[in-house]
Amino acid sequence: MSYSRIAERFLQLVPVLFGVSVIVFLMITLTPGDPVEIMLADQRATEEQIAALRRDMGLDKPLAERFFHFLVNAVQGDFGLSFFHRRPVIDVIAERLPATIELTLASMLVAIMVAIPLGVMAAVRRDTWLDRACTVGGLFGVSMPGFWFGILLILLFAVELRLLPVGGRLGYDYEVARITGMVLIDSLLAGRLDSFRNALAHIALPALTLGLPSAALLMRVTRASMVEVLAADYITFAEAKGLSRLRVLARHALKNALIPTVTVAAIETGALLGGNMIVETVFGWPGLGRLVVESIFARNYPLVQAAVLLYALTYVLLNFVADILYTTLNPRVRL
């Protein structure tokens, strides 16, 4: 895919990104009630304090002007102050973001490691008990509410078997200097294998909770695409040449069958960001998702607004990456 096509596709994102900013702006602006009064509801604020906050938030200005300021500030990463933390919103988000990225990547790794082997086996052994078991497992995966699945895993692995911790990110006895903010990577960079093992034990249950439902979806995609590839003429030809079954699968079939899987995995990574809010709440994972949920109850609206915008932008960009990946891996597709 040429650079000009990528640039053209990127330019198509501009109206979508603009639309996303409008919606996020309107979320706080057009909701019923006065946001300032809602924010200060429990705090017995005086009329002067309410007026001052309204002025600070620019609520006394016309809508169009407020949107323009919101957009200009957002582009500069300025989302105002987090009321609760009394620090710029962007700093608070930056502090929590690595934990969420770490959990999302670990979950996607779980999803891929489960989905690809099972999807391939289900396709190769089509209509056998294994295929049917994968179909049933996939159905359960997409039907299970994430928060409940997390609780079941806690009950089994943390409460009954006492194999893994109930929640948190790192045991109290461990400390790792912050380099990337991702504890697993920082432990390795610092050469602390004990911390790495402890962090791995902490991330296991949240990553399974978030990753297994995605695995169900990826497995279906892998299976469907592998079934299609296995019926193609070039596979019959490769087998007729006398190549071993394993070689045909690994060298010829898998390479093509994984194109849709890679694409869906990129899109699904964006969707996992939403699931993070639930899983981080269940496991007390100190990431952005939990921060957003806490901020909702603390009526910390600037932070919620900034986080929703950030999630949406990441989702749009991951969809863009998925498009590019799909076209690059499969030259027959032209955007």
Partner: protein
């Protein structure tokens, strides 16, 4: 004037005997659905949940909001200290879990049905307009759809609920705001394809209005994908409602919701596992049944959608 069904050449006065009469597409689809035992079983299970929801005041053994602190975290009947009059035990406020599950079915099914009905109606009308009228209407609707699709669903719903505040009406609104885009996309695609077909050309040639062509000609012919999409989206909506209620952003106490029941039970996981786990089984059973039934519907009504 919908797409003409094939009529047998020899059909005087009432047509062929029943045995020889060609089966209508609807009957054929229903027969295919009925032949799929798993989907039929799932449909029956959904019906059971619907009956439980409707008859909740008659079949619930206790008042779902009535707590008895002496029965705090009482275990289910089959465990030591359990009682058969409180079959699934009690929660931290001593409320009967079975009665709360029964009333919780009302919330889940009602929100699922209301959200899907409103969203499918809006999405279908918007999709018909975008697909048939084209031009600026299509551009505006499609850009709005693209923009709404740019938000992860839960993030969007949580953002809206954060601003609007929790409650039954707000949860319905928060879900409808995004949900309609899914049926809109399907209907737009189907309408774009139908627009070029002969029966639509014929209606145009006869001078039918655009509204007539969209609503009376195209709509009846694209209803099956709408139905299929609506069914499997309903499973998703039920999980979304439960997730929002779990976070405390959904239906508020004392109204029982399966999601908030799991959240309440989480506080007492070590001493009373049943409080958090039993409502989850209810969610799983209903969502699984809807997913299985929707697969059956998809296979029966629109084999082209098969994965």
């Amino acid at each position: 004037m919908s797409q003409p069904a094939p009529t047998p050449a020899t059909a005087p006065n009432g047509g062929l005997p029943a045995a020889e009469r060609p089966e209508s597409p609807l009957h054929a689809s229903l027969a295919t659905f009925r032949a799929n035992r798993l989907s039929l079983g799932a449909a029956i299970l959904i019906l059971v949940f619907a009956l439980i929801a409707i008859l909740a005041p008659l079949i619930a053994p206790h008042d779902p909001a009535d707590g008895d602190l002496l029965r705090r975290l009482q275990p289910p009947a089959w465990r030591p200290d359990g009682e058969w009059s409180y079959l699934l035990g009690c929660d931290a406020l001593g409320r009967d879990i079975l009665s709360r599950l029964i009333y919780g079915a009302r919330v889940s099914m009602m929100i699922g049905l209301i959200v899907i009905s409103i969203s499918a109606t809006i999405g279908t009308l918007a999709g018909l307009a975008a697909g048939y009228l084209g031009g600026i209407t299509d551009t505006l609707i499609s850009r709005l759809v693209d923009t709404l699709l740019s938000f992860p669903y839960l993030v969007f719903a949580i953002g809206l609920m954060a601003m609007m505040g929790p409650g039954l009406h707000n949860i319905i609104l928060a879900l409808v705001y995004k949900e309609w885009v899914f049926s809109c996309r399907v209907v737009r695609g189907a309408t774009l394809a139908a627009r070029e077909l002969e029966y639509v050309e014929a209606a145009r040639a006869l001078g039918c209005t655009r509204a007539h062509i969209m609503l009376r000609e195209i709509l009846p012919n694209i209803l099956s994908p709408v139905l299929v999409v609506a069914t499997f989206r309903m499973a998703y909506i039920i999980i979304m409602e439960a997730s929002l209620s779990f976070l405390g952003l959904g239906v508020q106490p004392p109204t029982p919701s399966w999601g908030s029941m799991v959240a309440d039970g989480r506080e007492h996981l070590l001493e009373a596992w049943w409080v958090a786990t039993l409502p989850g089984f209810a969610i799983l059973a209903l969502v699984l049944a809807i997913n299985v039934a929707s697969q059956g519907l998809r296979d029966a009504f629109d084999p082209r959608l098969r994965g």
